[in-house]
Symmetry: C2
Subunit: 651 residues, 2 copies
């Protein structure tokens, strides 16, 4: 009874404090004076609350299960998949615990690191699986502490499979998932949301279906927040299971696990592992087409859609959990057919937010990392508090060093051979570099017929927004203004604008025009003369790799270049040009020439020396046109610069 | 090599932090994340730095001396004078120490409280005089501590006049101004800027002119930052004095004290006190016109202008200090003739900033106190940190109680008889109240022929900006929408706009339309029906005196209603509609009905009961139109409300 009251208490108090803050430091007086305008309730809710809110609102949702990859390259691909499938709007994803793969380690393929990447770098609500058998309490606690440190907030508590054939209980060990649930609640109180597994047909090792239901109830009463079911083949299996659960007093959400059949072999393997029996009607369809992958997948999609519809129509199912097998096509297809795939073009902020709890008030970033958000997150991962409302004139934002350019979530998705094809097997001079930049902007194939779909400073094709500036960008890149970041000026477009909009609806978004590029010292000299004419209208920062720094920024204050005005809210200014951070970015931007481009070539090769020359001699320039309601003057600045260079009297 | 790079980094960052902040608490990590964009360098500089900067820039400046008033009513008038003369742009004002008037006490006429008012409520850089003779060290320290606590940053250190005829040095006491200078530096280090007096003709009690110069040098070497001179009648007197000072090694600024002759008697009295001799050429002019005040003042102005011109033309004088005798006309005239009176229409923020050092980062306030800024400052005087950048969703901003509505700096400038003429000797019903509001808006005389130039919620005539809304306001007040605060919507006017502009030049200012009024519950009922139609476009808060609170504000978040975008800076949003503060304001706004209006009438009188009825039954409403780029819809909301009220089906 005491325990029950405590539970109620902590539940209600947690629902309050979670809305605002979790750590002591956040609720301090100082912070309350400049806290976030809670743009996005999602950022402040825990998973079980999101689930409840969606259910209360009658919103159906889905979630996606992945397993850790085997190789570093597969990890790079999986992260891209997280980004792509994350766009469909899963309520959460989960990452399985792979005991054989050193799951709690810092390896780039470990369960822990994959889940960490999903939360911090892809901004996804994530559940990390954890199994407990064959592990000591200290090991488990260590894993949980690490998960908490990394910003993981949800654990799927599992027993795990015994290693040998014989199952033997360990004295004082963790023998059942319920032991893990209790341990988490004992050691971490209410910090984690806990999920447990339910078996619609009963666990294969359980004495009986009824006995297994009682085990499940134990897990819930030990503190689990919701249940995800093992896969099943018939909707009535799950609906009966749900009813039986309720009958014995299990009231938490129970989410059906959906397994779209994607191929003959994967089905066989899964059935073997889960010890489930495939119903005869399914076998009858599959056997004759077992060598036709496409046919099986189509059938699997069909089957899953019809089962999901039945579940949703029952009125008792509010969310669907998909066993993706790390594949995209079938699950995405099912979700689209169900109308659950929801590519919401609305963004809470112009950049993708991270899901680490300590970053949930973050709403200002320097613009420089716009195309390298994962690098920004990596370099600021040690920060304890994040800018909220204002960037401020902090004297030295401590950016972590970015030494390992091959960190798997920062690594280019393209292999070396492909990069060489895009960026040139052999460079003949600075002009061949201009050409690469130009092809990236225009989307035209380069002289060898290859499209340039990424650059060292941008691993993705040109943003839709940048497309607005395409013609101008092409012109200047051809002439050696090598652009790596830009945005048009925007004078109050609706926040729902499909290209430049962000934030809640009913608001207005604004931008100052921004242009960032590498260019030669000759051009910089002319540019500086031209900029005098523009006085305070254009703020500039011009640096070279040695750190020579020329600027007209007043008092080294940050310049807000993107902001939004919303109904009933304070003003949000999510991107700034911060002169101090620019010096950290400068190091990264220059290093990318060498790390990602020059190193594609042999040492001492002419190609490598060309890139090295640019690295050593070019300047990195950023320009802001402060007069956002007027026509962007930055193109005129560049035009004037070339005119000055070409005028014989100025030579 | 690695270290060298780091070194370059930190060097460049330290040059920043100098510009940014001076006190220890401001450089803390939390604050650095949301510190002020230093809109106004003035707010961060100490007086001696401002003086140096003006001198370096070749800007001439002036300052004004006042003495504490004798009565509370005179204090009210002096504060208005501070506001009016402050508009001319003095570098500082100073308040003399009046030993007979209990100068360090909390009396509303004390030197300390008058200086406190100038700093905190009028936002003026202020020097408090302090004399030391006949006082113990502890008394002096107590005064200085109090001055510091009140936000005073500058002291004029004086000996003071001996009480009797005989001057007797006290052992271990403060016998000379230099003792006070030393004491301030010993006890308060560099906290205060210290000013001392210089005597162009030598102090009357000094053994000699040369001996007096040596005393002056002692005072400077003991830590004084600059010198203000005693009055004199001929420019050459001062210029010689300056030269003599420099000759013996006094290098700090020396500011000539200018005394515009304003009348025969005041001249005689001053001459008696200062033991100065009036030159014969001046006596010759004055004696014949001694009964013609206007003639003497004109002559005095003429004389002062010509002397000031000569001083400024000398090239060694950069600022002029005026002995105003608490009068406006002559000094203002001299300053205007000299071209030094500089009514800068540009405001650093839309509201007048306070000069207390702890408020120097403050840049956000709730809009409610727009017409009662002194009340806002009073009620927030105990705050330790002030909102900067964001108001934040602080759950309970602790506003001090405003119990004493007769605090002299909050008191109406008009006496009871005048208020009765404006607001009605006898009210006949709610309509007579509507009439008072309407007359205040239109500027037309009321039925008894008196103009209504102030209201309980606004002690000054209608703001220029509000005039933009005059016709609409008139219409609604006539019908019982009793407006007390409003602003039009502004969609990006230049920051230099003479009416709505503020902040540095080159920026753009914005506003959401705002309307705040008292009205009957009948109108509120109809209004609420109408507001449904406007959904999120209009945010509203509707409260009555009992605290019934109806709102559609999301999560009780503040709504920014005034903001500005400036070159090279973060965004400033100086006014917000904060739902939580509104409840504190509500208490004040309702209380003003009783304290300032109802109490003009006898208890139980019909007039008093009418005001009491309104106080008890009306609602206070505020409306924000979030769609600032569109035409203000709030008038339509009111129009729709009256239409609904008049439609027979809805009655």
């Amino acid at each position: 009874m005491v325990n029950e009251t405590q539970h109620t208490c902590s539940a209600s108090s947690s629902s309050r404090s979670d809305g605002g803050s979790s750590s002591g430091s956040e609720s301090s007086k100082d912070n309350s004076r400049c806290s976030t305008p809670v743009l996005d309730a999602d950022r402040h809710e825990r998973l079980r609350e999101k689930m409840r809110r969606r259910q209360d609102a009658g919103d159906k949702w889905f979630s996606l299960e992945f397993f850790p990859p085997r190789t570093a390259n597969a990890a790079v691909n999986l992260i891209s998949r997280f980004d792509r499938m994350g766009a469909g709007g899963p309520l959460f994803i989960d990452v399985t615990w792979h005991p054989a793969g050193d799951p709690g380690s810092d390896k780039e393929t470990s369960s822990m690191i994959i889940a960490n990447t999903a939360v911090n770098y892809c901004g996804l609500e994530t559940i990390l699986h954890m199994t407990c058998c064959h592990q000591t309490k200290d090991e488990i606690t260590g894993h949980l502490q690490k998960a908490k440190r990394l910003g993981l907030k949800n654990i799927m508590a599992l027993r795990g499979d015994p290693v040998g054939e014989e199952w033997e209980e360990e004295v004082d060990g963790f023998n059942h998932a319920v032991d893990l649930v209790k341990h988490i609640r004992n050691e971490f109180d209410d910090y984690f949301d806990i999920c447990v597994a339910g078996y619609p047909k009963g666990h294969p090792e359980a004495e009986s279906y009824e006995a297994d239901l009682r085990h499940l109830k134990e897990k819930v009463f030990a503190g689990a927040d919701f249940i995800i079911s093992q896969l099943f083949f018939r909707p009535e299996t799950f609906l009966k299971f749900m009813k039986d659960c309720q009958a014995i007093g299990i009231t938490c959400p129970i989410i059906p696990g959906i397994f779209p059949i994607q191929g003959y072999h994967s089905l066989r393997q899964l059935v073997k592992l889960s010890k489930l029996e495939v119903p005869q009607e399914i076998k009858d369809v599959i056997e004759p087409i077992k060598d036709n992958d496409a046919a099986i997948r189509n059938y699997g999609v069909e089957l899953a859609v019809s089962m999901c519809r039945e579940l949703l129509d029952s009125g008792v199912v509010h969310g669907l959990h998909f066993y993706t097998l790390n594949r995209e096509v079938a699950t995405t297809e099912v979700l689209k057919r169900l109308g659950l795939w929801n590519e919401d073009p609305r963004r809470p902020l112009p950049w993708a937010v991270s899901a680490h709890p300590k970053r949930r008030v973050e709403d200002v970033r320097p613009i420089f990392w716009a195309s390298r958000p994962k690098s920004y997150i990596y370099r600021t991962q040690e920060w304890d508090d994040f800018p909220n409302g204002r960037w401020g004139n902090s004297s030295s934002p401590a950016f972590g060093e970015l030494k390992d350019y091959y960190l798997f979530y920062l690594k280019s998705k393209s292999p070396r051979e492909e990069l060489l094809k895009m960026w040139g097997e052999e460079l003949t001079g600075e002009e061949s570099v201009f050409e690469v930049f130009t092809c990236y902007i225009t989307g035209e194939p380069n002289r060898n017929g290859y499209k340039v779909t990424c650059m060292p400073w941008n691993d993705d094709p040109l943003a839709t927004e940048t497309n607005l500036l395409k013609d101008q960008l092409e012109k200047v890149n051809r002439r050696g203004i090598l652009t790596i970041n830009s945005q048009p000026n925007i004078n109050g477009k609706p926040s729902t604008d499909p290209i430049v909009g962000w934030g809640p609806s009913g608001g207005y978004v604004f931008q100052k025009a921004y242009l960032e590029f590498f260019t030669s010292s000759e051009i910089v000299t002319a540019l500086l003369k031209v900029l005098k004419k523009y006085e305070l209208r254009v703020n500039y920062h011009i640096v070279n790799v040695q750190g020579q720094n020329i600027t007209n920024a007043p008092d080294l204050q940050p310049n807000a270049v993107t902001w939004g005005i919303f109904p009933g809210r304070e003003i949000i200014q999510p991107t700034v040009v911060d002169p101090v951070s620019f010096l950290s970015w400068k190091d990264e931007a220059f290093a990318l020439w060498i790390e990602q481009w020059a190193k594609l070539y042999e040492e001492e090769s002419p190609s490598r020396m060309i890139i090295q020359y640019i690295h050593d001699n070019y300047y990195l320039v950023n320009l802001v046109d402060n007069d956002f309601p007027l026509e962007n003057c930055l193109w005129q600045v560049v035009e004037d610069t070339f005119e000055l260079l070409n005028s014989p009297t100025q030579q």
